[in-house]
Amino acid sequence: MVQLADETRNKISLKENRIFDVHSANLPGANPGQSNHWDFEKFKTQLKINVIKIDDTDMEFDLIGVDAALANALRRILLSEIPTMAIEKVHIHTNTTMIKDEILAHRLGLIPLKADASLFEYPLDEDDAQSSENTLVFKLRVKCTQRTDAPKGCSIERQLNNSKVFSGDIKWEPLGDQANSLSDVRPIHSDILIDKMRKGQELDLVMHAVKGIGKDHAKFSPVSTASYRLLPDIVLKRKIVGEQAHRLQKCFSPGVIDVCPNSDGEEEATVVDARSDTCSREVFSHADLKDAVELYKIRDHFIFSIESATSKSAEQLFVESVKVLMSKCDVLLKELDESEQKMES
């Protein structure tokens, strides 16, 4: 299918069984008389960023005028290439609880830590000695004991001290001069349940946290999730009134279609908020409504949603992902220049 009219040129059309025009046709030489050459000035006018929602940990914003490849690259970097600190090595002195050593160590690694990874260096190799530049040391020492003052006949958990081990029990041990340069290093949430114990069981662990990226292990990923979707567009091709209008409203997510009385007194359906639609294409299962609606997605309008799982806010993470992409391009350029110099000499 060829898109000829200018305003539909950047729309992906969703039909009943297929999706058309997924890839942009705006390449150099595609349309005679149209120069689609890469032009920085044109990009400057097309690029728009609107922040919709922002708070301490989450953020939703619109990225308009960008290629899908760039939006996806930023999403992939947010997921896997931004460094964070996480517990890597656990030295277990005593573990008499019911949870096996390796399971316990795995759970500890997944606990998000409140530490800025940019203040640390990567560990040099597997057996590198811990130093204050690349390691954080934490201790967990909990023993479960019987409470002498518990009333008779209450639940087992109430009769015991420390029957549940939470992430708030993890204590930081500053190394070297970390006590002066860092403050408030701890797990972000203090109510993560790590382990359960009964009388006489004990946990005595020393944990080393290092810097890593999500590609190495998912525990280093700084986001709980980072995703984007394209802006949907719904076009009603004819007037839809009465019972059909109500059925049409049910086909889309709530709030997308509004049914109100029009000037003739009939109840007419209008598209009020295409953005919140989740594009289920349910309308195509109704034989009489199939031809009345056209569903599109705008190809270069990305609705990004980022939820941070570290102490950094979502917008700081996005800025970092942009910096990581720049440094990757830098590395490539340097390599190309070096190889060119080698060939000349």
């Binding site: 960023i49 609107n50 490849a69 760039l70 800025v319 830098d330 350029l333």
Partner: protein, 117 residues
């Protein structure tokens, strides 16, 4: 049991270069760029940027096998341009795009926060 260490997907081996360039002998003005320890994150944006260059006749990339962490980018240009120049221009254009994105993003955040206050 046979799983390779995860860090192999982004750390270069000893003596391994980041980019290896091989001229394509089958057609004029074409080259294969093998970028090691990178994946679709870079490959796709480089290919998309190269396609916007009017002097580039062919641009495509592939990750030949998911267990080998590298991608091969094939570029063919017109006679007056070289694949390496096209590649370098694509990377510089990308960097200017991305830095503009960063600026605009920071402005948008500032506007939103000022709007709240």
């Amino acid at each position: 049991m046979n799983a390779p260490p995860a860090f192999e997907s982004f750390l270069l081996y000893d003596g391994e270069k980041k980019i290896e360039i091989k001229k394509d002998t089958k057609v004029p003005n074409a080259a294969h760029f093998t970028v090691n320890k990178e994946d679709h994150t870079l490959g796709n944006i480089l290919r998309a940027q190269l396609l916007k260059d009017p002097k580039v006749l062919f641009a495509g990339y592939k990750v030949a096998h998911p267990l080998e962490h590298k991608f091969v980018l094939r570029v063919q240009t017109t006679e007056d341009h070289s694949p390496k120049d096209a590649f370098t221009n694509a990377i510089t254009d990308l960097m200017s795009e991305v830095s503009l994105l960063e600026e605009r993003f920071k402005v948008a955040i500032r506007d939103k926060q000022q709007g709240i206050e």
